[in-house]
Amino acid sequence: MSLKKTVGLKTILTALLISFMSMLLLGVIMNAAYTHTSLGYDLLKINTISTQSANAVTSVVTYFRGLDTLGEVTILFLSIFGIGIGIERSDRMKTILGYDSTLLKIGTKVLFPLIVLFGLYIIAHGHLSPGGGFQGGVIIASGFLLMFLAYGDSYDLDHKVLSLFEALSGAGFILVGILAALAGGAFLGNMLPLGVLGKLFSSGILPIIYIFVGLKVAAEITVLVEYFIRTQDARDA
């Protein structure tokens, strides 16, 4: 048996074809001309008069394209709902990943309120600084993940409170939109005074929407983390 490894003609041709296509795709990507639409600059121009929000991304997400955010939150809710149906929830559920460490337990006790507070701060300042509902919600959920890792099965999450938060914040989002429509504007339009740019109580409806989004995302990602960390170990089944 010879040490030389034979490579078939088909393999060589496939490799050549793949590399040629990759070069072609890379060339297309690198030579792409970025046409600058005026949409973003128009939105920046009217941002000061229409929202008074210091963060233009927030005003796009919650005001100019608020309906898209509603759809996005709905998709997140549907996905978590599907996971809840899919994963078996039985009494045999136990935490499959955890660290039994005293240092972690004591540190978590100190850190958990601070993490939740920081998440709330990020949510409430979404219209003033980088951040917002999605980011702050994920930070709060990471605090709960730390609790799951440190305390394992002895940490009981109140599912009623969690579902209440999730449902009420989702309903609150739509309710704010309907109230804005009744107050004379469009659905999810602005009905509150705009205030002064850079103040916490400013930019009308935006912080309210982002607070609802943040609470909803926090509740949903917490449920998601709990589903995955407290599932019955599939390898034991």
């Binding site: 949409l39 600059y41 233009a56 955010t69 996005e72 994963i87 078996e88 589903y227």
Partner: protein, 128 residues
């Protein structure tokens, strides 16, 4: 030297090559791995390359983030386009939701069939 590197077109090229590399890594993972879990995680890597490409290709030298902060007093042409960033924010959230849902399907498939190798799937009667 650094001035020539700090050009919008050059940085766009760097972003294109980098995100293309990440895309290729994810694609190779999708095509070559047999484990369902790893296939879905590779898809998520492909997704992250798209995020990087989209955000990076709308970056321009000398323009700030669209946020009124310390040095910047008003919204004008010295800021980058906020629309792609808002869109990618939406896409990231949806990507997380879809990844979680698909991983749930993988867990359930494993629980029902005891198999996670795509070569050994024979639910449609195609026994190898």
């Amino acid at each position: 030297m650094l001035e020539t590197l700090n050009q919008t077109t050059f940085l766009h090229t760097v972003v294109a090559i980098g995100s293309f590399t990440i895309f290729t890594i994810g694609l190779v993972g999708v095509l070559s791995k047999k484990n369902l879990f790893k296939i879905f995680l590779s898809l998520s890597i492909v997704e992250s390359s798209l995020f990087l490409f989209f955000i990076g290709s709308h970056f321009e030298v000398g323009k700030a983030a669209p946020i009124v902060a310390d040095g910047i007093k008003l919204f004008d042409g010295h800021m980058v386009d906020p629309v792609p960033q808002a869109m990618i924010l939406t896409t990231i959230v949806i990507g997380v939701a879809v990844l979680a849902l698909s991983l749930t399907f993988v867990v359930n498939y494993y629980r029902l069939s005891g198999n996670i190798d795509i070569d050994k799937m024979d639910e449609l009667g195609e026994v190898q």
